[in-house]
């Protein structure tokens, strides 16, 4: 079974802090993704990475950055946390078969509260 783990289930931070969310997958997947989930909005893509050190902005990248130094690990960074970044953050990974039909496997999520 594919396993995607996230470093924290719950996190509370203060406005202005730098926040790191870590994600690790164990299936040698090329693609990794960060989403945020808010009620009534579904999941929105923040960033994705299709290879080590390669990244692409998603739909809502403002206020976030990412790092992928190793294939299995993808980090989401909030440079200066703000209250409007309070949300559930979900990491996912997938193969890159080239068919455009690859399943994404999700981690359990990190519920971040910024005070």
């Amino acid at each position: 079974d594919v396993k995607v783990t996230q470093s924290s289930r719950y996190l509370v931070k203060r406005t202005g802090e730098k926040v790191f969310l870590e994600c690790v997958q164990d299936m040698d997947h090329e693609n990794m993704f960060w989403y945020r989930q808010d009620p009534g909005l579904g999941l929105r893509l923040i960033y994705f990475s299709y290879d080590v050190k390669m990244k692409e902005k998603g739909d809502i990248p403002e206020g976030y950055s990412v790092s992928r130094e190793k294939k299995e690990r993808f980090s989401l960074i909030l440079e200066s946390a703000s209250t409007n970044q309070t949300s559930m953050y979900l990491c996912a990974s997938s193969l890159a078969s080239g068919t455009g039909t690859d399943t994404q496997y999700f981690g359990p999520g990190t519920r971040l509260t910024v005070l």
Binding site: G42, F48, L90, S94, T99, G100, T101, Q104, F106, G109
Partner: protein
Amino acid sequence: AQSVTQLDSHVSVSEGTPVLLRCNYSSSYSPSLFWYVQHPNKGLQLLLKYTSAATLVKGINGFEAEFKKSETSFHLTKPSAHMSDAAEYFCVVINSGTYKYIFGTGTRLKVLA
């Protein structure tokens, strides 16, 4: 551009009765479509996916979905609801030419005893 619309934000059914969760899609190409389920405080789990093979797709836990091109729909059904089916369900289309998922806004299913 691709998109999906989940027609109901909340659905309530009694245990043992059928479940119908509706999803319409918009796509210029033959789409790949998915249904995911999210139980409270959990990540998303794949229920089933359509990738231009059989139009009736069977998934886990007794769920199935039918791809209807003429109606641009991909509704999720289950003959008999179980209490453990209470969760949020997401319909997803893949943006053609990329790896990007486009999510619907979700349908929260409530199962009444």
